[in-house]
């Protein structure tokens, strides 16, 4: 007998559900990335507002805070921001179209083996384009921040 933790009364997957994107294909991974980058960018935005607000304490306070981003770790963090921003924007545009019913195909009589038209090649292409754009932006950012 293998004892395990008893689930809650409603047996909801909760955060565990969306923290494990590996079971349902690229669309679920894209959903996971979109949420993850959204939360990350929100935290960055709060930090960014705090960072820029230090200028009211004078030039020295501003410059000493700015030095934090001039380290290797600071640069790596900014590269992540660039990647997250690019993916969130590109994938967000794809989602604006899908939420508007565009690019999903039309309802029809399903034939076995079923292939959902909403998970068609246009959606997969959109996800891959967002990922590639994100990687390219990160590469460009890396060259700017670490280049001579």
């Amino acid at each position: 007998m293998e004892e395990i933790e008893q689930p809650s009364r409603n047996n909801l997957e909760g955060l565990k559900g969306w923290l494990n994107p590996s079971r349902y294909g690229w669309e679920r991974i894209s959903y996971w990335f979109q949420r993850l980058t959204g939360v990350f960018l929100l935290l960055y935005f709060i930090g960014h507002v705090y960072e820029t607000s230090t200028i009211v304490n004078g030039q020295n306070a501003w410059e000493s805070f700015l030095e934090l981003t001039q380290t290797v770790w600071g640069h790596l963090f900014l590269i992540l921001v660039i990647g997250a921003c690019t993916f969130h924007s590109a994938n967000g545009i794809r989602l604006i179209f899908t939420h508007s019913g565009i690019g999903l195909g039309t309802p029809g009589r399903p034939d076995y083996p079923y292939s959902p038209s909403s998970l068609n090649y246009r959606q997969k292409s959109g996800i891959w384009i967002a990922l590639i754009l994100s990687a390219a932006a990160m590469y460009y950012g890396f060259n700017i921040l670490f280049g001579e």
């Binding site: 933790e5 008893q6 349902y24 989602l95 019913g101 565009i102 959902p116």
Partner: protein, 267 residues
């Protein structure tokens, strides 16, 4: 290939989730060795275990042919119908059967569908007529003319067997009990798209912050649907109407009054 290999090939380990809150026994897995052929389904394996190993395992099943939607469970972590999943297709030596996520567990693999069906009822899943055909005192009955194109707009969504797999896979349904879930939302689109339906208030039912707007198009519902219903498509199309991007230019089906009892008697 020696004899030992061939014996190993024909058996799998079935790992079954067990939980009985009535007896306050803790949740655990029981393991059973089950022989199988290439056509054996997971439901067959569970019934074998019930017959020869442990009759106390609770499972819900009925038609054994993916029509009733009773035997939904998580098989190797993914919501599937046990009668529709062949052991040979899973290509693993251990098969893990768990109750559907996002549904309260009654016992072992049996889950409570009360909330699921309540959400389904909330979207008023029936044809509505402004003229009140059903309550007409003269008992007039009509036939509706629908072209094949009219039928194609909703037929796909009417294949739903209410197995609950889509709600179990949905990440939003896993965090919000008030979210109707992909099944109910797709059914709302099914009736909305039907040219026989004259309801003007149908969309208001899900125009809520816990309603359709909480769908973020993860697509998992369509991925696990065993009938090709594609709930994600229905939800996005419904949303496009609610946003006003798709124009609601539905032409209601032409009604043709058919013979009443009085007419039949005179004939």
């Amino acid at each position: 290939m020696n004899n030992t290999d061939s014996i190993n090939e024909d058996k799998i380990v079935l790992k079954v989730y067990r939980e009985n809150r009535g007896q306050k026994s803790g949740a655990h897995y029981d393991r059973f060795e089950v022989p199988y052929k290439k056509w054996t389904t997971v439901l067959d394996a569970l019934l074998y275990v019930k017959s020869y190993n442990d009759p106390s395992i609770a499972i819900r099943y009925s038609c054994r042919m993916a029509m009733c939607g009773s035997c939904g469970m998580k098989i190797n972590g993914i919501p599937r119908l046990a009668c529709y999943t062949k052991i040979s297709e899973l290509e693993t030596s251990t098969i893990e059967c768990e109750p559907l996520s996002n549904f309260p567990i009654i016992r072992d693999l049996v889950t409570d569908f009360s909330l699921f069906f309540n959400h389904h009822k909330d979207i008023q899943p029936y044809i509505q007529s402004n003229e009140g055909v059903e309550t007409d005192t003269e008992k007039k009955t009509f036939s509706f003319y629908q072209s094949p194109e009219d039928v194609d707009r909703y037929l796909q969504f009417s294949y739903c067997i209410k197995c609950g797999l889509c709600n179990s896979a949905c990440p939003t349904a896993g965090t919000d009990l008030r979210f109707p879930g992909p099944q109910a939302l797709a059914q709302l689109y099914r009736y909305y798209a039907d040219t026989r339906d004259e309801s003007k208030k149908r969309l208001d039912i899900v125009d809520d912050r816990h309603g359709i707007w909480r769908c973020h198009f993860a697509g998992s519902c369509s991925k696990v649907c065993p009938k090709g219903v594609d709930p994600a498509l229905g939800i996005q199309l419904l949303r496009s109407y609610m946003l006003g991007i798709s124009k609601d230019n539905k032409e209601l089906a032409k009604k043709i009054e058919i013979n009443t009892d009085k007419d039949n008697n005179s004939n």
